[in-house]
């Protein structure tokens, strides 16, 4: 069994108005150190034993369904799951 942690964010070139609004709130309450804030999604998959290559599997799922490559980037980590 594997645990796959997938992080999805809007592409760098795309404005994140939600992130900007949250950043302004932080600035307003005194955290002026925050220069940028971008909001994304976190997905956690538990994958059962398989003969298929885990990287291929995860990339396929990300590109077919889990992300929209037109607007989003993703990265992932694979861990052994108990």
């Amino acid at each position: 069994m594997k645990k796959v942690k997938i992080f999805v964010t809007l592409r760098e070139s795309i404005l994140d108005p939600q992130g900007s609004a949250v950043k302004s709130s932080l600035t307003k309450i005194g955290y002026s150190e925050v220069k940028d804030l971008r909001i994304g999604k976190y997905l956690e998959l538990t994958i059962g034993d398989t003969d298929r290559d885990i990287d291929t599997l995860v990339k396929e799922m990300c590109e077919k369904v889990l992300t929209n490559v037109v607007i989003e980037d993703y990265r992932y980590e694979v861990e052994e799951a108990n």
């Binding site: 070139s13 108005p17 939600q18 929209n68 037109v70």
Partner: protein, 227 residues
């Protein structure tokens, strides 16, 4: 002409779409549930607005995985007219039938009001009953209608006159180049955020959307006479 109105869990403009076709346009129409696997008996496919699958993951992403979408792709490949409105537009971009994507409105608000739309291209399956440059009044109702595509795609859209509608007075969602609706390169798949099906009767605020549906029927009849 016989239209299909697709229905997903969470669609909420399907009844308006059905009404527009049946009662205002006077053509045949049937609801088609998302799990169906055949659209061969229909001449035109309408993908209505709403919140299919509760907008889980991304607007339109789950709907794109349903059985019926493989049939919508077949219909589009066969040259049948396919219209996606609002969530329907989002579904068609997720399906890759139209380029680009719809992002969260720039002001982060759900916008629900009439807008002025400019007909940028009246030489299409969907707009031949409008004048070129005509400004029409059609309502919008969306939180994620901010059309985005990369510069290369935008250049292609412009070069092929694929931008069909733009917001003519003020842009409610921050879309690139004020885009409100685009068509595919072949000219038989249109996606738009505003709701023409909600503008088909002067008694409820205007009928500027009706010409869009009349355009489809006119073009369809011409294609079938010529063939």
């Amino acid at each position: 002409m016989k239209f299909a109105v697709l229905v997903f869990p969470g669609s909420n403009c399907d009844i308006d779409m059905y009404h527009a076709i049946k009662d205002e346009l006077g053509e045949e129409v049937e609801y088609v549930w998302h799990s169906e696997t055949d659209l061969s008996g229909f001449d035109g496919i309408l993908v209505p607005g709403g919140f299919s699958y509760g907008d889980y993951l991304r607007c339109g992403a789950m709907a794109n995985q349903s059985n019926i979408m493989a049939e919508v792709k077949k219909a589009a490949d066969a040259g049948k007219p396919v219209l996606g409105v609002c969530n329907g537009f989002q579904i068609l971009t997720e399906a890759g039938l139209l380029p680009g994507a719809l992002l969260r409105n720039k002001n982060l608000k759900f916008m629900c009001r009439p807008v002025q739309l400019k007909v940028e291209n009246n030489n299409t399956f969907f707009t031949n009953q409008y004048e070129q440059g005509q400004v029409i009044n059609v309502p919008i109702a969306h939180g994620e209608g901010n059309y985005y595509c990369d510069e290369e795609t935008l250049a292609t859209l412009k070069a092929n006159n694929q931008i069909v509608f733009t917001y003519s007075d003020d842009n409610p969602n921050g879309s690139i180049e004020d885009i409100a609706g685009i068509i595919n390169e072949r000219g038989n798949v249109l996606g738009m955020m505003p709701h023409p099906e909600r503008a088909v009767d002067a008694l409820v605020g205007g009928a500027d959307g009706l010409a869009l549906f009349k355009s489809i029927v006119k073009q369809w009849r011409e294609n079938h006479v010529n063939n």
